[in-house]
């Protein structure tokens, strides 16, 4: 049996056949059923299987893109629950992107930021204020609301606004370290929320607790985007951009500097890495992805108020990163998807099911124990279990493995990467389980 399995893992063809069969079955099930959350989730999970398959990276990306852009939207369009699947998928996209942003700060640079949702709020408010008459309360020039075409510009403005906020918070905050940093960022997150909640007087900037309603829908070529399936594609494109940027960053000089700081700040400084600048870059870049998604969230939701940006949301994103594996891009994507789907679909379905049971009188489960209320308990338990037993998360972060011989033969490369003395480069067995410790 074992041999067969290991043979299976090496051979592409049976893997591919099984994979294609799986995708076809789940897609068909999804397409022809009225509402089948299970088949929707299974279809989504095919992306995870794809990640583990023994294929070339390029092939995996191709298949993944086909699944995301064509198959998933098409397969879920069969039943009446189409828009609700797309809604969930859009939310997953938004959270994945935010978790990738936080992963830069927490996972790569090792700075525990517990007020991350503030950047999301900055992006969301940036668009909401200008895409509603709100801006005319304090802007001396211009005509508001801006129409939906401005959405695309605001994606960039939102990202920049969030990045600036990140730097502004970062400059004072980065003087403190470790646990203190966690507390200070938490404090800043709360301050930003309270300020948004209260800046409706004397000048009405944010609408205060009343929030901002009727935010303009984005427009493209005069065509208004308002349905979840349209936002799905918007989110997907931005997410892919984020993913591309994060993957490039991880392997850039900056990414390596982040990891160096994470592992040992003093040693990193000794190697000539500018601490403050590098940390600020982590804050700013992480924040900008979050801010961009904030704009999408505001446009999709059409209503923004401070209750969407509480501490709990910051913790939720942190849970995603910890669950997936700090510093690991595929892990964080998985973590964010799992948590969002758990929140939006699994817990809801379970609650409905329990409600049905209660109504029909089969069993009587007290309201206090209804699954939708257990969110905190589940998050707490996940945090504890993963911190204790699986510190590296679902998909642990891996550093790129270099082949020493190949590097030595390629002299021009060896100068850049300096393989000698680095323990990672001596790893020859690709399947070796040795991984870098996340923090020291």
């Amino acid at each position: 049996m074992k041999e067969k399995l290991s043979a299976f893992k090496l051979h592409k063809t049976p893997q591919l056949i099984l994979f294609v069969a799986f995708v076809i079955v789940t897609s068909l099930a999804l397409y022809f059923s009225q509402k089948s959350v299970i088949s929707f989730l299974l279809l989504l999970s095919s992306l995870l299987f794809l990640y583990y398959m023994n294929l070339k990276n390029r092939t995996k990306w191709m298949i993944g893109l086909i699944l995301l852009f064509i198959l998933i939207p098409f397969a879920s369009s069969g039943g009446p629950a189409f828009q609700s699947y797309m809604e969930v998928a859009t939310m997953v996209g938004i959270y994945v992107s935010m978790a990738l942003g936080l992963n830069i700060v927490v996972g790569m640079a090792g700075l525990l930021d517990m007020g991350f949702i503030a950047f999301f709020a900055v992006g969301a408010y940036a668009y909401s204020i200008f895409a509603t008459p709100q801006a005319s309360n304090f802007m001396p020039f211009g005509h508001y609301p801006l129409d939906g075409n401005s959405f695309w510009a605001f994606l960039i403005i939102g990202a920049i606004a969030a990045a600036i906020t990140g730097v502004l918070i970062g400059v004072p905050v980065l003087r403190v370290k470790g646990d203190y940093l966690a507390i200070v960022t938490l404090g800043f997150g709360e301050i930003i929320r309270i300020v948004f909640n209260n800046s409706d007087s004397p000048i009405n900037f944010t609408g205060g607790a009343m929030g901002i309603a009727s935010v303009a829908h984005p427009k493209i070529f005069g065509y208004e985007l308002s349905f979840p399936n349209q936002f799905y594609f918007v989110t997907l494109v931005i997410l892919l951009f984020t993913l591309f940027a994060v993957l490039r960053l991880e392997r850039s000089k900056l990414g390596r500097s982040w990891k160096a700081i994470r592992e040992n700040e003093i040693a990193a400084q000794a190697m000539g890495i500018p601490l403050v600048k590098t940390k600020l870059m982590a804050f700013a870049l992480g924040a900008s992805f979050s801010g961009m998604m904030g704009v999408v969230f505001a446009a999709k939701q059409q209503f923004i108020d401070p209750t969407s940006f509480t501490l709990m949301e910051s913790f939720t994103i942190l849970v995603m990163v910890v669950l997936g594996g700090m510093g690991s891009v595929p892990g964080v994507i998985l973590g964010a998807a799992v948590v969002t789907i758990l929140n939006l679909q699994v817990l809801t379905e379970l609650t409905n099911w329990v409600n049905q049971l209660n109504l029909s009188g089969v069993v009587s489960i007290p309201d206090a124990l209804s699954p939708a209320k257990m969110q905190k308990f589940i998050f707490g338990a996940l945090l504890i279990i993963f911190a204790l037993y699986k510190t590296n998360g679902l998909i642990p972060a891996k550093n790129r493995v270099f082949d020493e011989k190949k590097l030595a033969s390629d002299k021009s490369n060896s100068k850049d990467n300096d393989p000698k003395g680095n323990p990672m480069t001596t790893l020859k067995d690709k399947d070796s389980k040795e991984q870098t410790k996340i923090y020291s």
């Binding site: 927490v106 090792g110 525990l112 004072p172 905050v173 003087r175 403190v176 470790g178 646990d179 203190y180 966690a182 507390i183 200070v184 938490l186 404090g187 800043f188 709360e190 301050i191 309270i194 300020v195 909640n197 209260n198 007087s201 004397p202 501490l311 913790f315 942190l318 910890v322 007290p366 309201d367 206090a368 124990l369 209320k373 257990m374 905190k376 308990f377 998050f379 707490g380 338990a381 996940l382 945090l383 504890i384 911190a387 204790l388 510190t391 410790k437 996340i438 923090y439 020291s440």
Partner: protein, 328 residues
């Protein structure tokens, strides 16, 4: 403007002192644990909350048995305090055992994450116990010590208004002071206290001096958590109404107090707590006067967090902290 502020000053001081003593005793728990493990025990706020719930449960049980009128209230409070302190003490020890001890050599961010996890789990467990028992997680216990005491502060000087407080304020103040003195004595004069200070100074050397480090850490958690739980009872007696979410923000503020006074420093925590309580109450009463109505009482939390951030940035060792701080 100044006139109005001074008028209400005696009352603000009294209310600030009530809140401040609560912060001070909770801050002790943070400071002790931080002193010995260099760990922010995020779950401490929830231990405080559990103490408040245990106390209220006892109080409700007493009143449903009709015992409230036959035993003197002070005895009831003492029973509540002792039971809550012992139970939360063990709870704290248990948390250390499960969530922190296995991670003692792990990277420093990991215990912080378990601490948040523990905090969530405790909140939710208390919530559903309360909801199962009472149908609602906001619990109000029978009131004790409601007699009002009036102090004619206006007779001292006519610039002051009169002020008043509940007798429970005196109770909170006296018990908190007793607790703080007892802790100071415990840490500075007893064998365990000496061992605790030794462990916080240098864990490895302490172990070589035949100190059982694990046991001392457990004792520290027990004492710190028992103090937190007892404060929870005081809070419940003073304010009457509690819910499972009182611990989190209060814990953060108590942590602020500990940082303000100099973390790891017991007397600093007491001072920091009282200063923070008074400042917060002053802000709530006077912020809108000071800023001409631009900022109101709703900014008082911003005020508290801003203090935390400013202290951490400009004077990380706190008010009473010295370069070689006297740690627990």
């Amino acid at each position: 403007m100044l006139h109005e502020m001074i008028q209400s000053l005696p009352q603000v001081l009294i209310d600030g002192l009530t809140l401040g003593t609560v912060y001070a005793v909770v801050a002790l728990g943070y400071t002790m644990v931080y002193g010995i493990l260099q760990l922010i025990n995020f779950a401490h706020g929830e231990i405080f909350m559990s103490g408040a719930f245990i106390g209220t449960a006892i109080l409700i049980a007493f009143s449903s048995m009709g015992l409230l009128h036959s035993i003197p209230s002070i005895l009831v409070v003492i029973i509540m305090l002792v039971v809550a302190a012992v139970l939360t003490g063990f709870l704290g020890m248990g948390i250390e055992r499960v969530a922190y001890r296995p991670l003692r050599n792990a990277p420093r961010l990991i215990p912080l994450i378990t601490a948040i996890g523990i905090s969530f789990v405790l909140q939710d467990v208390v919530r559903f116990i309360a909801e199962l028992a009472k149908g609602n997680y906001i619990i109000t216990g029978p009131s004790l010590f409601t007699k009002q005491i009036h102090i004619p502060t206006s007779s001292i000087s006519s610039v002051f208004h009169d002020s008043s407080f509940k007798t429970s304020f005196l109770l909170v103040l006296i018990i908190a002071i007793i607790l703080m003195i007892a802790l100071d004595f415990f840490v500075n004069k007893t064998k365990y206290g000496t061992a605790m200070r030794a462990v916080s100074l240098d864990r490895d050397t302490a172990a070589l001096m035949s100190i059982n480090v694990n046991k001392i850490i457990s004792v520290t958690f027990f004492v710190g958590s028992a103090l937190g739980g007892a404060t929870g009872v005081l809070f419940a007696v003073q304010y009457g109404t509690i819910d499972p979410y009182i611990g989190f923000i209060l814990g953060l503020k108590a942590f602020t107090a500990a940082v303000l006074g100099g973390i790891g420093n017991i007397r600093g925590a007491m001072l920091g707590g009282i200063i923070l309580g008074i400042l917060e109450m002053f802000a709530a009463a006077n912020l809108s006067l000071l800023t001409g109505g631009v900022l109101g009482a709703e900014y008082k939390d911003v005020f508290a967090f801003a203090i935390l951030i400013l202290v951490l940035i400009f004077k990380p060792e706190g008010l009473l902290g010295k370069p070689v701080a006297e740690k627990v």
